[in-house]
Symmetry: D2
Subunit: 455 residues, 4 copies
């Protein structure tokens, strides 16, 4: 604890400007601790009642905006404790029995993060719902599928959107797994070595909704894995958002012209009304950097720290808060933005200029007629060059011309087409309309069974 520090030092080490955000968890944790102390007879019931009453009163003050946070009291714990002395008198001094700021802050952070993970999971779910809704609305829309940003094969837009559904589903899984490891009560670890009172940690865990108690006090006060793991899962989720954002930006360009994002999610030069700057998508894409940076920052701060608590660890807060806020707001705004996306179905389909995207289908056609695949591949390659050099599409070649390349071609080669191409990709995970209908159904089912409710 600081005493008589000069202003320079105080403002350098004080955390109250940001850790005040934890006030609700700090009070909640203190109340549970107090009740346990009384239950175990470590403090008198009347003392406990006075402390709990004081803490509840402080909670109301903060909620009401009347609480004065003071930098000279350094952090959220001291701010609340100091006020408790004012409210409850010397009995406040008993609150700290069998507790240290080291296990207290670890508790606050875990309570906070558990709440935020639940929020994140909900936001992921909302975004997935928006993806499914858009896919359902546009279920028949055909678009070029890309590799290397070069048109490769026709796909359904819904298939493309559901690819993101699957990405975010994995994100949900990672947040769920992170939750498990966050859901561990550190209180009762003392400063580092455990507590010299007959405390009941399981009781506290139950009161605060933790599934387990930590099993090593040194580790419990030195551990910020849960922060890093959340930040890593968030970085991957932001990576997914950055990919979606990139595509929204591309598709909004006049060159692609695939979609129009609703006006409330774009900004325009007022002077150039044709301009629909996809600022929200761009900003989310840019914020990926920040979330990566927070992750790396925390990993750097924790590197090579000897046990147990070191002050370096105070850096966990701003880092985590910023990631939580960035991720949650980005997820939320994407869920809302996708609802406003208008798809230009005609443009998407017409953008598949020539039917060369059917080359793979034609090779498959030959292979099904018995031509070894690599040979079929070679035949089609030659046909493509032939057609390309004459500026013709496949459908514009005659059967005679086809026969110059392989005798296996028959009249049914002309039944190759976008719809047939799609329909043919009808195995699990493929882009056929039948697969997509099933995928949409599965997606709806997943949406209705929220992961986090199990907790």
């Amino acid at each position: 604890m600081l005493k008589n520090k000069d202003k320079l030092v105080r403002s350098y080490v004080a955390s109250i400007l940001f850790d005040r955000r934890l006030w609700r968890y700090d009070i909640e944790g203190s109340i549970a601790h107090t009740r346990m102390l009384a239950k175990e007879g470590i403090i008198a019931d009347s003392d406990a009642a006075a402390i709990v009453e004081g803490l509840n009163a402080i909670r109301e003050e903060i909620e009401g905006g009347q609480f004065q946070f003071k930098t000279e009291l350094e952090d959220i714990h001291m701010n609340i404790e100091a006020r408790l002395f004012e409210k409850a008198g010397n009995v406040a001094g008993k609150l700290h029995t069998g507790r240290s700021r080291n296990d207290q802050i670890a508790l606050d952070m875990r309570l906070f993060l558990k709440d935020e993970i639940r929020k994140t999971a909900g936001r992921v779910n909302d975004l997935q719902r928006s993806l499914v809704e858009l896919a359902e609305k546009t279920r028949t829309v055909i678009m070029p599928g890309y590799t290397h940003l070069q048109q490769a094969q026709p796909i359904l837009l819904a298939h493309h959107l559901l690819a993101y559904f699957d990405m975010f589903q994995r994100d949900a899984g990672r947040f769920h797994d992170c939750f498990k490891r966050t859901d561990v009560l550190p209180l009762g670890s003392g400063a580092l070595a455990g507590v010299a009172y007959p405390i009941d940690r399981e009781f506290v865990a139950q009161q605060l909704g933790f599934s387990r108690v930590s099993t090593n006090s040194l580790d419990a006060v030195s551990d910020r894995d849960f922060v890093i793991e959340y930040e890593a899962a968030s970085a991957i989720a932001m990576m997914h958002l950055s990919r979606l954002a990139e595509e929204l930006v591309l598709w909004s360009s006049s060159e692609f012209g695939f979609i129009e994002i609703g006006p409330s999610f774009t900004t325009g030069s007022s002077i150039m009304p044709q301009k629909r700057n996809p600022d929200v998508a761009e900003l989310a894409r840019g914020k990926t950097g920040r979330v990566y940076g927070n992750l790396l920052g925390m990993m750097v701060s924790m590197k090579s720290l000897p046990l147990a608590y070191n002050r370096d660890m105070q850096e966990d807060k701003e880092s985590l808060f910023d990631t939580v806020d960035t991720l949650n707001s980005s997820l939320e705004i994407f869920a809302a933005m996708l609802k406003t996306v208008k798809v230009n179905a005609e443009r998407m389909r017409d953008d598949i200029k020539k039917d060369y995207l059917l080359a793979t289908d034609m090779a498959d056609y030959l292979a099904k007629k018995g031509v070894p695949f690599r040979e079929a591949h070679g035949v089609v390659s030659k046909i493509s060059e032939y057609a390309l050099s004459r500026g013709k599409g496949f459908g514009e070649l005659s059967l005679e011309e086809y026969h110059r390349f392989s005798a296996s071609f028959q009249e049914d080669v002309f039944s190759l087409g976008l719809e047939a191409s799609l329909a043919a990709r009808d195995t699990a995970g493929g882009t056929s309309p039948r697969q997509i209908e099933m995928a949409l159904r599965r997606a709806r089912e997943k949406l209705s069974s929220s992961l986090m409710e199990e907790e």
Copy 2:
């Protein structure tokens, strides 16, 4: 595919120098794919047999070191396929039916990583075993516990070592969760849109030991989450190793003098035999940077990539291989090194120079006599200053002197001591000998139930 490229381009884009490492998985995947094609009647049984025979022969060539990898064939797939043509003739062309290099490389990477995660899990387990063994051997050794690298409270060395056990246990959990998401078959996704043959993906999954098949072809070929997630879990594990390494370095210094690492894990200036440079620990600490860097690199490479496959994704290999090798070798060498650590028990205990580390115990003592904790705290604070200024330890003060600060002191204040302090911290996770015995027993149990065997 490259053709007629100049040397500059070829060496820039070729991956065979590193992806050759995947050869076993590439062959394994091709065999499973071939068997499925035959089972479904997509290719003839005899063709399948010829292909499988050829692939098996290639496997033997590679194992025997007779296979010639060629840069002009660019990657592992083309190297093996070209050789298959030499061995099996044109039938080799049928192997590629219903498959693309995009889903093939995704398959190879997942097969590879599944094996490596099992290896990582085993190494984590070995390291945990070394920690437990050292803790068991030194179970009565008392050392100063630190916060801020300042002596704070006495603890058992075994307690300190078990803190690392708990860290690595979380790592094991993360690798286990990562395994779940890696254990998904991407084959059957084609280039991006799925496959136009009646393939049986479940059969292939079963043959290759996958629990599930991917549900969206676009995602399956664009997804490298499993690489990033492994790298993130590895980064956290290396962070834990860096902390352990830091402590080994500190404890090996002549100033601490707590331990001696075995000579095969240190290097000395030959001229200064007293020097025992803990090179292995330092190097592992340094390699943390590399593992962090690989994680960042992959996240950057994947950021903002539109669907589906882009060549940027080729960067996943060297990054993952380097992380796998760094982590696995570091875990292995730490497991071995810990077995050689000699603990200087006397020095550890004597290093607790004065009994001021018992201050918290004394405050607890007063609190148990009814003094409110914060007040007790203040009393002890004054006694400490008093003793410090006179150069005396607590045990050297008289009861009279104690009474100057509080009337609550009684004769039993003199029973405070290191052993009593340890014994008092006897709640879950605390450093008391009883808790540590239980913790050691639990650790042994966990060690014997390997996580990965469940897969």
Copy 3:
């Protein structure tokens, strides 16, 4: 520009909460721009006068704390412009002639950073001064020099401190070089393509103190190299601080006991007065992660952005501000903290327990007597082992004993000692007292010629 956005979007894209910090530069730039417009006859002198008067009035409002920043006006430019309309009426509309928000924000950022680099350079200088002062105060103090945290050779503490002086000198050089590349006027680039008025960019540059004007408008509005370069230089500077911090933490431990940091820069458990937690040093060490993270975040945000301006670039502000504040406050607090460091000279010297640190000197002794160095090395190696196994120091061996290992030893071997060892390292950069005196003199000279004054 946003209009009619809902709250979610507004708070996501608005930057006024952080870019308000640029207000002074925004006004300064607008005034210079206005004066140029009038000088060139693009707007009337009277209009210019009205605009400048309005801007000056706004400056006073902000300085006086009476200005109301509004989120719905999104950014600092619009906030000031809107107020200017209120103050100066429609003439305010002429301020934007030949200017865009894209070149305006680039200007604000560069003006801001130029000021901050000057500040950083000053703080680096202050810290170097503290190092020199401490070195001067302790110029005769001998300490063990370390490699691998193992004692290796005796050195002067002043030599150790001056190593940091040299590190920070390189930092100063990097900030100086970064300043050169920041000191370029972007205004006059318009939105992206340049400006369609006969503006005088050199005049504006001169007014605002820029040495050069940018030479490509597309680049000028797309470039954030100066932010990244500053952040990279800062990351290296923080890395240096983290090394110094680590040593302060080590040296403050009871095991080393080399120094005592002044009480206003440490925090203690009030109950354990012997504890002097070096919180400030730890926190600075931890904040290294944040500065690294900011750098990486910006590099990630800028990766793969097509020209010209993209909204992703808005992420530059919080990142830069945080780095600037973290670095400058850390430098400042270290400069102040070092003034309070008390060196325990006796402990430092006595910590060199045995004279084995003189092994290199003994090898040099033999080499000077004509023994090839590698052979000399081998001889000393054997003597060391011999002495170590008998628990003797070199000085406690007899000449007879020496002769068992080499006939080249003479009586003068006993003149080897710490002081002699130091004195012998008397070439440029060595630790001899003579070299250190010269180094201190050189350091003083460098301190008095501030780099940034040249600008």
Copy 4:
């Protein structure tokens, strides 16, 4: 040094697999050191001659591919020294006089990097030349200029290309500045404390082409700033390449269709000849991640290391080598690739579909007629909406229609057009043909005065 290590440890700590790359510098440094020792009379001239002869012979062996590098000799220094003993006998033992592996490796790294920076500077220059050549070839080509990937104003393609010229010019400056700080001789610092022989460091510096000698031995062996600074400059350069790569990828898409990259720099699906996958550009974009990762890795490895040498620092080599190779090959391949780019000038110009890109010009037009800029802005905004809603371009409106919005329009409004718009942006840095001609001339001048020749 290792002795009798088991294989696990040896392969973990050995660096010979990668530091062998430094062999030329190691020999070069040893020769200079030997000559200095002889000149100062520290060793005999005949001994020096024998050593130099031996080293030269080893150089020839390595050049001829006959040298056997051995892992058990751990690093490049020991490999060469051991061979020198074989070649020159015991006199080899004198080479190490007044030198340590700590200052030796620092020397090798600096010699290596100086060479590589020169190479990098040359490659940057080549790439800039390619940009200028392409700009010169296409000097009249008009394209849409973008902000937010939305068409904003017409620009010259040459202007766009020259924006990259300016970026790489800054990179050149950063490498130049990094060179200055690399160009410092560390040899003569010994293990950490300096050298106890009357060595002549200036002589060695001169022989090896260093401008300065280091001034603090502790710093000289602990410093890897030059590695990090090079990696940071490289990260920024790769960021620039990633932006150029992104645009090449975009422009190669069928939707943009602006350019065609030569076939030797693209790969196609052989089956889809229309596909021109810009693999080289994608791969370079992806490799940005790796270069960022290397930077982070080194900064992490160096964080919090106490002085002086620690084994963590060995991690500098692979990191630097990989960055050097990635950057230099990427620069080289881009310089070559740009020469093959065919520009589709017609498509670029026609892509500016409607003349709304002239909106800013129209506002400027009004402003020049005396309408305050913000008001003019409002007028044009209304006209744009009016035209857009009727599907007309500006040129298709009548003067009457214009007058509905402002009486200030006159007949000359119809002279607004792409060429006029370009010509109007004729101030420094603007996109007017005149400015671009001057910019091209300046660029040519810069190209002919290579930065690095000054060294």
